[in-house]
Amino acid sequence: MRREPPQRLADYGPLFFPAGMLIVFFVVPFATMIAVSFFQRQQGGFYTPAFVFDNYARFLTAFFGGVLGFSLFLAIAVAIACVAIGIPFTYLLSRSKRSVQIVWLVALLSVLSLSEVMIGFAWSTLFSRTAGITNLFVWMGLMTQAQALTPSFGAVMTAMTYQAFPYTVLVLYPALVRLDPTLTEAARTLGASPVKAFFTVVVPALRNTILATLIMVFIFALGSYLLPQLLGRPQHWTLSVLITDQAIYQSNMPFAAAMAVFLVLVSLALVGLSLYAGRQKEAK
């Protein structure tokens, strides 16, 4: 197929709608937020236009640095967990029968219909002492006494991985379906066991897809603010939790905006860095 560059203004027509949406719902609010982040906060909940760096200066403290570090660590951990579980799962799914695939994909899509609140409460029940899965372990004789698994870091990780997992599978699925199945067969005839073939052929051949999935889950997990509050202790709260707290409960819009801007910049920098690293390796 021949592709000609757009000639007239009308050729750009199909782009108008998405561009408009992007401007109205992303560029304008984000610009407003950047502006607000430099405003001066007034006692009593309001703010006046100004150009001060107080809000940014405020979180150059060990406390906010720690929260930021934890937020990034949590998002990276969730992304790695999702991809580590997602690749073998999706690989086996793409090699299974059509009917099996449909059942799994419908089940995964239905998880997407659950709100973060429902997922949070469901897991907090599952991890509770009174009604949780530990009762099942006691009944099976694996544990002597039921105990609460929440609040804990593990509970936050589990629920966030659960929430991001369907997205992971949906992003990986098309790439794995398209992957030529004779590639693994060829690896096997060349002396690689099925497991070795998976790690030496399937994973490297999907390197770009895997990188894209990691970035997507990372950004998705970075925005999570309900699950850390529902399932974690205060030290497991992410920057998103603090932003919500400042914006809604402390009525400190300028500071919340500054944190949000900073979070966006840091995550963009991380994404850029990983893309750059990926490209460097490809060029090699």
């Binding site: 030529d180 004779t182 590639l183 067969e185 060829a186 690896a187 096997r188 005839t189 060349l190 002396g191 690689a192 066991s193 099925p194 070795k196 073939a197 030496t200 052929v201 490297p204 051949a205 390197r207």
Partner: protein
């Protein structure tokens, strides 16, 4: 007993029998082509030899040991896939060295082996290129080199040349045959192209509907087909009904033909006559009377289509021996009894 031995191998997919009780013996160092129309079970048979599919019944032996249940990666073989299946994330050299790397061969040994194989496939200095930037023929050669890197006991190729254009395919057939003879490696090729099979193979195995119809040298397959399927599938042939009269003489298209005899006890059969063994002459004098229906001049050969006794017969002659006939003309045809084969009906 060395070489490859296939004993009563059967493969069923549900109720469909893809390979039905096949036995075949491939001596060391021979080149065998599995030839047949699509869906005849030839690829399934090869996948079972490679261990990518497991037989429902029967036994496969390689070099004297039973490999029927041995997983693919522990069989000593190299395989070239129809899609070639070159690893897109690796360079040419890394692709070729893959089997050596998996086996933990030292880096410098890998490197020298890759150099050696690249020389063998006439692509020296290609080690660092990306496989995505090679031409079809080059990709083909790399796939062959990769399969041969460990000097396997058995070399399998599944429709290896089908992606190439006609001219390159012919050249690669010759090259592949020469390579096999030089290395003396036992080779099995799956193909649906009978020219390819005739060019390369020591033994052509003609398959249809999951069964072997004939396994013989290319010339024998062509000259002495075992049945009408083989006669029709290999090259072009005229299949003409033949009957024996009370005296046992063969009657072809209403004319007694000397020199052809039916197997004792049968009175009806099919006569397979290659077009080049049909001669168009003047009518009468013992020739089968016929009418010319179409003449096709292909430059290198003239095909004369005639109608005789309700059957269409095609005669091929070289331009030097062009029959001086025209469409609609009454002619006579003579069949060469020495090269005509009577097949069971």
């Amino acid at each position: 007993m060395s070489g490859l031995n296939i004993n009563h191998v059967t493969k069923q997919f549900g109720t469909f029998t893809a390979v039905n009780d096949i036995s075949l013996s491939v001596p060391d160092g021979t080149f065998v082509c599995l030839l047949g129309p699509s869906g005849c079970g030839k690829t399934t048979l090869m996948r079972m030899i490679a261990g990518l599919d497991l037989p429902t019944g029967g036994k496969i032996e390689l070099g004297g040991s039973d490999i029927t249940q041995v997983p693919t990666h522990k069989r000593d073989l190299g395989m070239v896939f129809q899609s070639l299946a070159l690893f897109p994330h690796l360079t040419v050299g890394e692709n070729i060295a893959y089997s050596l790397r998996i086996r933990g061969v030292a880096k410098d040994v890998q490197k020298s082996r890759v150099e050696e194989l690249l020389g063998m496939i006439h692509l020296p200095g290609f080690a660092d290129r990306s496989v995505n930037k090679l031409s079809g023929g080059q990709r083909q050669r790399v796939a062959i080199a990769r399969a041969l890197a460990i000097s396997p006991k058995l070399f399998l190729l599944d429709e290896p040349l089908s992606a190439l254009d006609a001219k390159l395919r012919e050249a690669m057939q010759v090259e592949l045959r020469q390579l096999q003879q030089r290395l003396g490696i036992t080779t099995i090729v799956v193909t649906h192209d009978q020219r390819e099979a005739m060019t390369m193979a020591d033994t052509v195995v003609v398959m249809n509907k999951g069964e072997i119809r004939q396994a013989a040298a290319p010339v024998d397959i062509y000259r002495r087909p075992a049945d009408s399927f083989v006669a029709d599938f290999i090259g072009q042939t005229n299949l003409i009904p033949v009957e024996a009269d009370s005296a046992g003489r063969a009657i072809v298209l209403g004319q007694t033909v000397e020199g052809i005899s039916l197997p004792t006890g049968t009175s009806k059969g099919m006569l397979s006559v290659r077009p080049e063994d049909v001669q168009v002459t003047a009518p009468g004098n013992g020739a089968i009377s016929a009418t010319v229906t179409f003449i096709r001049d292909l430059g290198g050969a003239i095909e004369t289509f005639v109608e005789a006794g309700g059957s269409q017969v095609i005669a091929v002659s070289s331009p030097r021996a062009r029959p001086e006939v025209s469409v609609g003309q009454q002619v006579g045809i003579r069949l060469d009894p020495a090269t005509s084969v009577v097949l069971a009906k």
